[in-house]
Amino acid sequence: QQADPKWDAWLQKSQLGPYQKNENWDEVITNAKKEGEVVVYSSTGTMLKVAEDFAKLYPEIKVKAYDLGSEKTIEKVVREHQAGVYAADVVYSGGTEQMVFDLLPNHRIVNYVPSYLTDRIPAEHREPLLTHVIEAYGIFYNSETYPQPPIKTIWELTEPQWKGRFSMKSPAGSLTTLMTLAAIVEHSDEMQKAYEEHYGKKLELSPGVENAGYEFLHRLIGNDIVISDNSSKIATAVGLRGQAKPPMAFSVIHYLTKNQTDNYANAIPYDLKPAALYSYPTYVAVAGQAPHPNAAKLFVAFLMGSKELNANSELKPPFRSGKSLELLQGMAAFYQVGTFSPRTDVPPPPHSEMWPKARKLTASPEFVKDNIAKISDFWMAETSR
């Protein structure tokens, strides 16, 4: 990217990017209150709750949070910027490919990490873009019907007994699902190893299929996969009690909370080979040329949780009230199993004992950049066969 004086001027004025030095947090707050408004484009509906919480702490600042879903969040930012409209302050979305390799280099967004958090977040979650939460897709099974996990390796899902009994959200229109597929493909050697260990024979790739990751997807789809438009429904489908032959599924693991709220019986076979969890980051950034940069900073900081929060903080549900809210701030609405803060000093949410130990596969940004279109095409070709 060439030097862009206008961009540079804005960075300087907003004290962002290279100009974000010796941040005076009180000044940020004062300026933010002066700006009086912050506009958030978000891929999740939870942001609406965060907005409510933010308003409790900073009533002077009006929050306009848009729940757009990941693809439309990005579409909207890009379209607006292309048209020279700078409406957004904060952009919140998953989708490494777009966020890191499109929006960031094209100055649609700028990475912002509140200075006081720098040492509390591992570098890979700070650079090139701040991760707000780490989420994961997990393989779900029904623990009422199956007291023990019904499968030991992910490859068993391609066997006849699971024909038509495995569902997942369509990756068309869901960047996070696509990230999961990318993780599988990127770690194809592990996939291959898992296969060979379980079946004791060499994996034979189907004609035209490149590696074990793709082979798995190929066989999974061939086993009459059920595609749904909605992860929550998937979790419901798997975990509802009283089913004789419940399906299994990829679902966002924070739907494990349904076990408590709705008495579902969802469970994750944490020992699954090669992994039962496929994690991906959700980023938050200040929008390029944001009209309210200070309010944006404040909102980002709010999202990440308060300064006072630490590993020993005592947090009690409901988290979105009282002392817990004061500590968790923007994390409160997210504070549940399946959405994990990258901060090293945040205590894990309830029911997430297994999280730190369980094996997770993650797609690296570089791999995503080069392969995501291919995976998407592969998926499309396979599902239309």
Partner: protein, 611 residues
């Protein structure tokens, strides 16, 4: 100048400059011509520019294409998308299969729509079936429901264990799992679309039947033709133009419909063109998306063209009646009540069934359990109770729904007004300059938005209106832009009814006022508008209805403060809150139906008579 060959070329016969100026002045003092030019320009900018943009985007490198074309700069000319979609390795998955599926569902649904629509039209217009005017109102109601309502109801009812989880109502009540082919895929898609879109055929055929002289059939009887032959040889050919236009209208809508195939096709991976467009747009693959959208546009044009070729030449059939026109009521005899019951059953399937399921859905605590103890009014009036989601506020204090409802009403109302005004003006110009180029162009351009896939239309409008567009300031993010795009998209409804209404008004009605010294504006206000009001109003109602439930058109343009009811429903659907989906949808349907009935009642009272 010499081109205007006057018979005798004496110098005095050559028009002077003054004469030419006078002629020009006269040209522009004819309001319809001036209006025609202005309207053509405005519409051209609002309709043809997007079409041009659409084509251009398919021919340029998009940001998403980086992975495929590492060396190309976004914006460069390329045929990459065409190769990829039509000839590439993926073309089967990306285009041919969905295209084929689209054709299958669209043709089948169109055929069924035609059968339903024409059958009902015949029953209600021509026979002595009981409660005709009541039935006439009733059969229009399915059109007032958003088409995906039927799909949601279908899946709630017929859901089987393929997608697992809570069983559908069918399985709950009968204890049998319905097979996949009933629950998902082409068959339910076709049925749901048919139950919604047959209204086009109904409207078109019923108005045409009214204008077919029943003496034609009687002459057939006198010639010894049986009832069936009378219908096949005489009535049916006469209805052909109406049927043709109904087929075109239905086909275009059905082939471009997204919601129903998305809900019912996904579980069995049955994709159609609109879902592919949506998916491509969703992965930000705008090139593919726009190209597929372009395919829909071309398909629609092709269809219109074929229809005109096959049927257009015979347009003059129905207008052939002079004095002594008769519209005889056919006695159904003992079939009267059975047929009435059949119609009512059909309406129950198309209206009552989805509505009841939706209401039920809004009352149920845990999905899949239809027992009485599992019902709650929490999501309507609050009050909480065991097993409800306390975090979701009830309708009465759910700001989300209430604001969106308000926005929807405002948007639909303003759109109806705008389209009413412009539909009227277009109708006026088209009819008054009939036969001229302006007239034909305007009529065509005003119809174009109809064949434009909504999602692509919205995407392109962002690009156009995000910066100042001509004399128009940047409208992006404003409510005005929503009104604008909705008005343009639904203009075909009012321009068509406007043209039809003005064709009914003899030119002499206006001329009678003109020779009496009443100026153009007064003529419009006093005479033409009041007389055309009935027809216009039905067009405006159509606009109102379709905007109340419109989503894909504006989803990229709305902001939280301008969110609409359909958007809220979509969000709740995504967040899997079936109760609130039920609440909001029932609310939406109730509003649409109420507004409809009220407007019709008022217009009857005011002697306007909306169709």
């Amino acid at each position: 100048m010499t081109g205007s060959a006057a018979p005798a070329q004496t110098p005095s016969n050559i028009p002077s400059t003054r004469a030419i100026l006078g002629r020009l002045r006269h040209f522009f003092t004819q309001p319809e011509r001036l209006l025609g030019i202005v309207l053509a320009l405005v519409l051209g900018a609002l309709v043809l520019v997007p079409l041009f943009e659409l084509v251009r985007e398919t021919l340029t490198v998009q940001p998403y294409d980086r992975a495929y074309l590492p060396k190309a700069q976004p914006g460069e000319f390329t045929l990459f998308h065409y190769e990829r979609v039509f000839a590439g390795r993926l073309s089967w998955a990306l285009f041919y299969k969905p295209f084929f599926n689209s054709l299958v569902t669209a043709f089948a649904a169109t055929a069924i729509c035609l059968a339903f629509g024409a059958g009902l039209a015949w029953l209600i217009v021509r026979t002595n079936i009981p409660f005709r005017s009541f039935l006439h109102t009733l059969v229009m109601i399915p059109y007032m429901l958003p088409s995906w309502v039927m799909a949601l109801a279908w899946i709630t009812f017929f859901k089987n264990d393929r997608i697992g989880g809570a069983s559908g109502a069918f399985a709950y009540f009968f204890g049998v799992q319905p097979p996949d082919w009933i629950a998902y895929g082409p068959i339910p898609i076709i049925i749901c679309l048919s139950l919604h879109y047959y209204v086009y055929s109904y409207l078109s055929v019923s108005s045409s039947i009214t204008s077919v002289d029943s003496q034609m059939e009687e002459a057939g009887a006198m010639a010894g033709l049986s009832r069936l032959k009378q219908f096949l040889w005489i009535t049916a050919p006469l209805l052909l133009p109406a049927i043709g236009s109904a087929v075109v209208m239905t086909f275009i809508r059905v082939v471009g419909s997204f919601g129903t195939p998305a809900v019912l096709g996904m579980p069995v991976r049955y994709f159609v063109l609109p879902t592919q467009i949506y998916a491509a747009m969703g992965t930000r693959n705008a090139g593919d998306g726009f190209l597929l959208a372009l395919v829909l546009v071309v398909l629609a044009c092709l269809f219109i063209f074929i229809n005109q070729r096959l049927i257009g030449v015979r347009k003059s059939f129905v207008t052939l009646s002079g004095k002594g026109f008769r519209n005889k009521e056919i006695d159904l005899g003992r079939w009267r009540w059975p047929l009435f019951i059949l119609v009512i059953l059909l309406m129950i399937a198309a209206v009552a069934f989805p509505l009841v399921l939706l209401v039920l859905q809004s009352l149920i605590k845990t999905a899949g359990n239809y027992s009485l103890s599992n019902l709650t009014l929490h999501y309507w009036i609050g009050g909480g109770g065991e097993g409800v989601d306390q975090l979701q506020s009830a309708l009465i204090d759910n700001g989300n729904i209430i604001d969106a409802t308000w926005n929807s009403l405002k948007l639909a109302f303003l759109t109806a007004m705008m389209t009413g005004i412009f539909g009227f003006l277009i109708g006026y110009v088209v009819v008054r300059t009939r036969g001229s180029l302006t007239s034909r162009t305007l009529e065509l351009v005003a119809f174009l938005p109809y064949i434009f896939p909504a999602l692509a239309f919205g995407a392109i409008y962002i690009g156009m209106f995000a910066r100042p567009f001509g004399p128009v300031p940047a409208l992006y993010g404003t409510f005005a832009l929503l009104v604008l795009i909705c008005s343009v998209k639904t203009l075909p409804f009012t321009s068509r009814t406007g043209i039809a209404a003005l064709l009914q008004i003899d030119k002499s009605l206006e001329e009678a006022a003109r020779v009496q010294g009443i100026g153009w504006f007064r003529r419009m206000v006093r005479i033409i508008v009041p007389i055309a009001a009935g027809g216009l109003l039905s067009g405006m109602l159509l606009s109102f209805i379709s905007i109340m439930r419109e989503l894909s058109l504006i989803i990229l343009l709305v902001t939280p403060s301008t969110n609409v009811l359909a958007g809220v429903i979509y969000n709740y659907q995504n967040q899997d809150m079936p109760q609130l989906v039920g609440v909001a949808t029932v609310l939406l349907v109730a509003i649409v139906i109420t507004v409809n009935l009220v407007v019709r009642a008022l217009s009857t009272k005011a002697r306007i008579g909306a169709a």
